[in-house]
């Protein structure tokens, strides 16, 4: 019944795209067949260079990467991906999954680690999870972009006010800090809430956090140094 669940789940998330890098043709072909049977789009690569030449799809994507590649080390490649800002969830498969390698892979941000031979459930579960991660990341990315746009519409003074509000200062303290009257601060604060489409103060703080504009040196209870 579990298979059925997965299949239905997959059907509802038809847009998943699985990329595979493995130097073994049999493994590549078997994974290809497995993922396609789960209605996922699959692209296989024999080695990393081939992967880098290809254009990454827009849909939620994950990468199934073999640790042991003919010409290079899978973990090295995972590190390289991270460093070059290619943000894609990675599932590492290995023929001899020993602990140090697992730790290293997980530290480098692998979402899962599977030892060959793996079960289809484990593999599909890992892939679907990774696709979820990818989807979340995509959502976050989208949210961040929207927030950035809103933030850009603020005037410089409003930005200052938002930063201080997010830091938890009271209006009085903000007025003092910015050398403004209390009423002016209130107007600015109301503009910020409106422009940023924040429903509450907490919402605004979350957005500020997302934008990373909170001035952490300032707090309601005095300046920390």
């Amino acid at each position: 019944m579990r298979n059925k669940d997965l299949r239905e789940g997959a059907a509802s998330r038809r847009d998943g795209h699985v990329l595979i890098i493995d130097d073994d043709a049999d493994i590549r072909a078997s994974l290809d067949s497995l993922f396609r049977s789960a209605d996922l789009v699959v692209t296989t690569f024999e080695d990393p260079s081939e992967f880098l030449e290809a254009r990454l799809p827009d849909a939620p994507t994950c990468l199934v990467l073999d640790v042991r590649l003919r010409t290079s080390d899978g973990l090295e490649f995972q590190k390289y991906l991270l460093e070059s800002g290619i943000n894609i969830p990675v599932i590492i498969i290995t023929g001899h999954g020993d602990i140090p390698m697992t730790v290293k892979g997980m530290k480098a941000g692998a979402v899962d680690f599977l030892a060959k031979p793996f079960t289809d459930e484990a593999m599909l579960r890992a892939v679907l999870d990774a696709l979820d991660v990818s989807r979340c990341r995509a959502d976050e990315q989208q949210k961040l972009g929207e927030t950035r746009l809103l933030y850009a519409s603020l005037s410089p003074r409003e930005k200052e006010v938002m930063s201080l509000v997010a830091s938890g200062l009271m209006n009085k303290q903000i007025a003092g800090e910015l050398d403004l009257s209390l009423i002016t601060v209130k107007i600015h604060r109301a503009n910020v809430m409106r422009k940023m489409a924040a429903q509450s103060l907490a919402d605004l703080v979350r957005l500020a956090d997302l934008l990373n504009i909170r001035d952490r040196t300032i707090s309601r209870y005095g300046t920390r140094h």
Binding site: L31, S33, L69, M123
Partner: protein
């Protein structure tokens, strides 16, 4: 060549003085004939002058052949008739007619006698020539013991020349010796005697001579000396003694020699089978089997007795040779070869020794050159049982060591081989699962499922192939040669090492020429060599971080002799620190921390057993180069 005067009458022409004398006598004969004719024709003597023509015939007869004698006689008769016609033509029958008849008869008789005499002398001359030429001594003495004939044989034996001895007393020259009793009596009674006497040579040396004396009888039937034929017994005795010594030496060697020798009478074989029939083995074997007792042993030595498990060599005599052979096919083969005219034949086979145990022997069958009938064929058997056993033990030890080396190497490869097997297994499981998925969908996709099953089969075969290779290498079996394609052998090893190469990030490049000759080799051993050399390279390159780890393997035909295979293993590692081949290929010499140091040593053993060579060198600017040369199957076959 000169002859005693008495015999020189019969001498044949050819020498200058002889020729002159012949012409002289003929001239005298012609002059006498002319005188007689003139006297007979122009004088009025009544007597029968014509009778004097007889003189002419006799003179001519002395020097000329039968034809000339007859012609001369006819001429003389002609002359007598001419004189008669000139003087007495027309006379009535009377005295002159009678005289003519007497003359003609006289001339005719003279001619007849001359011709007879001539023939006798020719015969005699031939006999004398034979006497002169014989190697035996021929001496003729008269009744006073004076030498009157002395041939070349005598001159050679005694050292005296003919002219030195003629007319001398034989007892003075050749020593006065006691005649054996009975000699004189025999001579008196039978006129002949045979025996041995001792004589002196010119040098003073004593020689023993076998002589035959024949009494000379003169025309009156009285004894007038002795004709002696003699042969030097000294040489003959020496030769006999030498022969005896040689025979003894041969016996001594025959008996004392360490390897078994059988002297076999194979004469029956060549009678049973004709040379032509040797090409038909079935016929040969049938004939051989009919005569179980042949060929039989004439003689055998101590070693032969020891080998055959009998107490004394003579127990073997008379036995059939075939009872010794452990393998009757070999026996028949040997016989066939012998009859086919082979003088020498060698083969390794087994003999039945004491208690019916089988002994390994190296057999050499020799037919002496002069033994046309195969009566004394020598069958020499060298017992090599111990040697073979020792060799077998050595081979077993080597095989044991090689096996240990293979296990060690495979041990080092466990992880990568496990990976290589795991890959297809993993693929199989995934294919099976996805096959289920394709079929379990709301609209089953049979095509995809079938493709999954195909892939399962392919991956399963792949895993199986790896396991087979590993099992082959771990198996411990006796070396066996067969024809192999070196490319296939290399491919199988690379299949096993693929994981290891990939784990150690070694790039493998293989370059294999086409039309390589086949290899008559032990598959496992050659693969062990390839595996060892590849592993060496991989392990040596593990220290390299600043350049690619590359292993190049090239297999080509040898440039010099096209039927050889040359394999070159070239890596980009640090190379050999010591290139001394005596050290490099020694056992237990290693540069690795985990190694027995058997690898290269075993490679050398294996390659040497295949009549090949292995050489190590350093590459430029870095790396090790190991070159293996192996003879192709056609070359090995010729050997």
């Amino acid at each position: 060549m000169k002859f005693p005067p008495v015999l020189s009458l019969a001498a044949f022409g050819g020498h200058a003085p002889q020729k002159r004398r012949v012409t002289g006598e003929r001239s005298v004969a012609a002059i006498i004939a002319a005188c007689v004719f003139l006297l007979n024709t122009f004088t009025q003597f009544r007597d029968a002058f014509a009778v004097l023509y007889v003189l002419v015939v006799f003179l001519v007869a002395d020097t000329c052949g039968v034809t000339i004698i007859l012609l001369t006689s006819a001429g003389c008769i002609g002359l007598a008739c001419t004189s008669f016609l000139l003087k007495h033509y027309g006379e009535p029958l009377g005295g002159p007619y009678v005289r003519l008849a007497v003359s003609i008869i006289a001339i005719g008789v003279a001619a007849m006698l001359s011709v007879k005499n001539r023939r006798t002398r020719s015969l005699l001359a031939e006999q004398v020539r034979m006497l002169a030429l014989t190697h035996d001594t021929v001496i003729i003495r008269d009744q006073d013991d004076t030498i009157i004939y002395w041939n070349d044989g005598a001159a050679q034996l005694y050292g005296w020349r003919e002219e030195e001895v003629l007319g001398k007393k034989s007892s003075e020259l050749l020593g006065r010796n006691q005649l054996p009793p009975g000699a004189v009596h025999d001579m008196k009674a039978a006129g002949r005697w045979n025996g041995e006497i001792t004589r002196l040579r010119r040098s003073g040396e004593c020689i023993v001579i076998d002589v035959r004396w024949i009494a000379r009888i003169d025309s009156d039937g009285r004894e007038c000396g002795v004709i002696e034929f003699g042969a030097d017994l000294t040489e003959q005795r020496k030769a006999t003694a030498e022969r005896e010594r040689s025979e003894q030496r041969y016996r001594a060697i025959f008996q004392a020699v360490g390897s078994a020798i059988f002297e076999v009478d194979c004469s029956a074989m060549s009678v049973l089978i004709s040379e032509r029939e040797t090409e038909n083995p079935d016929l040969c074997n049938m004939r051989l089997n009919k005569f179980q007792d042949y060929p039989y042993i004439r003689d055998a030595n101590e070693a032969a007795a020891l080998l055959s498990g009998v107490a004394l060599p003579r127990e073997l005599i008379g036995r059939s040779l075939r009872t010794l052979f452990g393998d009757q096919d070999v026996f028949r083969d040997v016989m066939r070869k012998l009859v086919a005219g082979k003088m020498q034949y060698e083969i390794e086979t087994t003999f039945i020794g004491g208690n019916g145990s089988l002994r390994d022997v190296f057999l050499r069958v020799t037919r002496p050159l002069d033994d046309v009938e195969c009566r004394h064929v020598l069958v020499m058997a060298l017992d090599i049982t111990e040697r073979n056993e020792a060799q077998m033990k050595l081979r077993a030890a080597q095989s044991e060591m090689a096996h240990a080396d293979r296990i060690t190497t495979l041990g080092q490869l466990t992880v990568s081989i496990a990976h290589e097997v795991n890959q297809p297994l993993s693929a199989i499981i995934t294919f099976a699962r996805s096959g289920q998925r394709w079929l379990g969908r709301s609209r089953p996709d049979v095509r995809e499922a079938l493709s999954c099953f195909d892939q399962i089969v392919a991956s399963g075969s792949r895993a199986g192939a790896i396991i087979t290779r590993v099992r082959a290498l771990t198996r411990k079996e006796a070396s066996s040669r067969a024809l192999h394609n070196i490319t296939v052998l290399l491919d199988e090893v690379t299949l096993l090492l693929r994981g290891e190469l990939s784990a150690k990030h070694v790039e493998l490049h293989t370059m294999v020429s086409r039309d390589l000759p086949l290899l008559s080799a032990d598959r496992i051993q050659i693969q062990q060599v390839i595996m060892n050399l590849m592993m060496n390279a991989v392990q040596a390159m593990s220290v390299i971080t600043d350049r690619p780890r590359v292993l190049n393997i090239s297999i080509t035909r040898n440039d010099l002799s096209g039927s050889c295979i040359r394999m070159i293993f070239e890596d980009s590692g640090p190379g050999f620190s010591c290139l001394d081949p005596t050290e490099l290929f020694e056992p237990f010499v290693t540069t690795k921390t985990h190694g027995m140091g058997m690898g290269l040593s075993i490679c050398r053993e294996i390659i040497a057993a295949h009549e090949g060579t292995i050489e190590a060198a350093n590459g430029v600017p870095f790396g090790a180069v190991v070159t293996v040369t192996l003879p192709g199957a056609d070359v090995a076959h010729e050997k």
